[in-house]
């Protein structure tokens, strides 16, 4: 006799599909990498793809679940990148185990970004709508400009910090300058690889999906949908907003650490508001609130300009056209109906219904 299976909840099913897609993609990519000695371009893009996917998933928490527009996400990435890279360069020779050093710098970078998320969140999250967007934008720029002025060096007597120039650090002869103002940090050990990036992405997705479907997540969504109603049932708006903002900042920090350990030259020009907008574009085009969509959009939109390199001067033009087309297609009713038809979860659901009908008759 066939045992009656308890039907999975819609959310769980959708989550399982997300994990399935991610793991399948990982396996296929690993196979391609292992079977090809060349394809350097493809291999080189894997870590950035993980980085921007993590960024998109974490921003999706703020934009999609909390419903607030944040334009300073690259600022948190910047904090994570600098803290992680600083730690690694500082203790390059003191911690012999590469993976241990990398794990510590990941945690440090993430936590520091999370703390900044908390500190910024206290004043900022009292604002709504446009005002919040403007303040987060300003915050991103402030972080960038402060980091740009920083000179930090280390010698026998400890750390030296200056915001004027390297010679103002007054260091002993044996000292080394680690953060060099506008030039940033150079010589960060190259610890990032695709496997680490993928694991971090999986963790981000796991935390994000579980948060969304938890009690906290439902409270957050109720704030998004109707703030006044949520307040009347006793939900503390500031508290829940802060939680989401911190988690989002934490993962942006992790993405930053991953970034700074992937490329040996780190400076603030990467973390301008262009990057914040770029990540926001991933989230919006992936469908606001959809974790899976954020990742897919990040992958497609990051890879596209690189794939179009052959077209030389026209590639940015084509990139823009693709963005516009995606926007139009995403809002097209007919396309959405078609998407419904071919969706995997719908397919499984139909099959299950057909099977249960068959079992009953």
């Amino acid at each position: 006799m066939q045992k009656e299976r308890k039907p999975l909840k819609a959310a769980t099913k959708s989550n399982l599909i997300t994990y399935g897609i991610l793991i399948a993609a990982f396996i296929i990519v690993s196979i391609i990498c292992a079977s090809n000695d060349k394809m350097y371009q493809f291999k080189g893009m894997l870590v950035p793809l993980c980085i921007y996917s993590i960024m998109a998933v974490s921003l999706n928490l703020v934009v999609g679940i909390l419903g607030d527009l944040s334009l300073g996400h690259a600022g948190f990435m910047c904090i994570g990148a600098y803290v992680g890279a600083f730690f690694s360069v500082l203790l390059k020779d003191n911690i012999p185990l590469d993976w241990l050093r990398f794990v510590i710098s990941l945690v440090l970078g993430g936590i520091t970004a999370g703390i900044f998320g908390f500190l910024i969140g206290i004043p900022v999250l009292r604002l709504r709508g446009d005002y919040l967007a403007i303040v987060t934008l300003a915050f991103g720029e402030i972080i960038k400009n402060i980091v740009n002025l920083l000179y930090v060096g280390v010698d026998g007597s400890g750390l030296h910090v200056s915001i004027k120039s390297a010679s103002d650090l007054n260091m002993a002869e044996d000292g080394t300058v680690i953060v060099k103002g506008a030039l940033g940090i150079t010589g960060t050990p190259n610890d990032s690889n695709f496997t680490v990036g993928f694991i971090l992405l999986l963790i981000t997705v796991f935390v994000s999906l579980n948060l969304i479907n938890s009690r906290t997540g439902r409270a957050v969504k109720s704030i998004r949908d109707n703030r006044i109603a949520a307040e009347t049932v006793g939900i503390s708006v500031t508290r829940y907003k802060l939680i989401v903002f911190m988690i989002s900042a934490f993962f942006a920090g992790i993405a930053g650490v991953l970034y700074s350990h992937n490329i040996s030259s780190l400076n603030t020009s990467t973390f301008g508001y262009n990057t914040s907008i770029l990540v926001l574009v991933y989230v919006v085009l992936g469908g606001i609130g959809s974790t899976r969509g954020s990742i897919i959009a990040a992958v497609i939109l990051y890879a596209l300009p690189e794939m179009l390199r052959e077209l030389r001067d026209y590639r940015m033009l084509i990139y823009a056209v693709v963005l516009i087309l995606l926007m139009i297609v995403n809002n097209n009713e007919k396309f959405n109906l078609f998407k419904e038809k071919i969706s995997i979860s719908r397919f499984i659901q139909n099959r299950r219904e057909a099977m249960s009908k068959g079992a009953k008759s």
Binding site: I27, I28, S35, Y40, M45, L183, S269, T270
Partner: protein, 396 residues
Amino acid sequence: MKLKKIMASLLAAAAAITCLTACKTDGNTSGNDSENNASAGGNVLRIGGSGPLTGDYALYGNGVKNGAQLAIDEINAAGGINGCTLEFKIEDDEAGEEKAVNAYNVLKDWDMDISIGTVTSGACIAFGAEAAKDNMFILTPSSTAVECISGDNAFRVCFSDPNQGVASADYIADNGLSSKVAIIYQSDNAYSAGIFDKFKSEASAKGIEIVSEQSFTKDNKTDFSAQLQSIKDSGADLMFLPIYYSEASLILQQAKSSGLEIKYFGCDGLDGILNMNNFDISLAEGVMLLTPFAADATDDATVHFVTEYRAKYGDETMNQFAADAYDAIYIIKAAAEKAGINADMSSSEICDALKKAMTEITVDGVTGTSITWAADGEPSKAPKAVVITDGSYKAM
């Protein structure tokens, strides 16, 4: 039903491939490598680089692109290097680190043998670190930050930032141009801050008094009245401008209208100021600058380069970047001929041979005569200073 079958067979196929490749990879890697090198041969040497062909610094990237292409065409017309023809490819990196690494990977897929690195400093550090891992030879025309050539595979054509700062201070001191100097620099720009830092320490060693240090950032680079006022009050008789020409043109304009009478001295970033649109060149009269390239110099190399370049690409991108890149290709040629490079060698073998040859050659180019290199990659050549007279450069 059908979809499930397809998925299942796909998964099975994937699993099977995993098993196969797992056995295959270890044994076959070395074999594949030699195959690749052989197929990359065919009497062609591929030279690759990356630079900002679009975006804010496109003028620099396109200068390098055209300058290098000009040299490549000339060399190919004259029979190539050791019988090998040259191919040249430059990828766009928008002056960003991440894009530069992507560009490097694209060039590796293209079987690049020798690289001219990148045009800008930040990008070059990232590009160079990847190249150092592969032992790929780099000769960057114009990346000035010290860290750009930290690997022993990397060399450069231009002066480094600190060297420019030192050279400027020495030049001012040795020629008795001034003893009270004011500086305006861009604090969030690595090039400008790097020169400023070294200039400051060298100036104090040479007995030049710095009476005013003013800075600006990328976000407030249009109004310099506050900086100019305090320079006026400080009583300086020379203003040192280790900045780019677009900001310098504004400073010159605003200093003129505020009635500040002072001498100006700049570095190679000021090169290009005479070609700016809507700039009154009479304002730049008397400005001194250190630059490796002056288009109206009368030596044979420069005259040849300028005529050929003008005929092919026009005046717009004819700057020191183009000249540096033109020289870079000829320097690679000189080193490759010295080392006896041929197309059958792998990029790593070429790198080892070129590294050694670079320290043994002496090159006369557009950007300097009798240039030699130390093993650390820094060029040694006499700095050229020019003064702007009647709207054109005159050697000092």
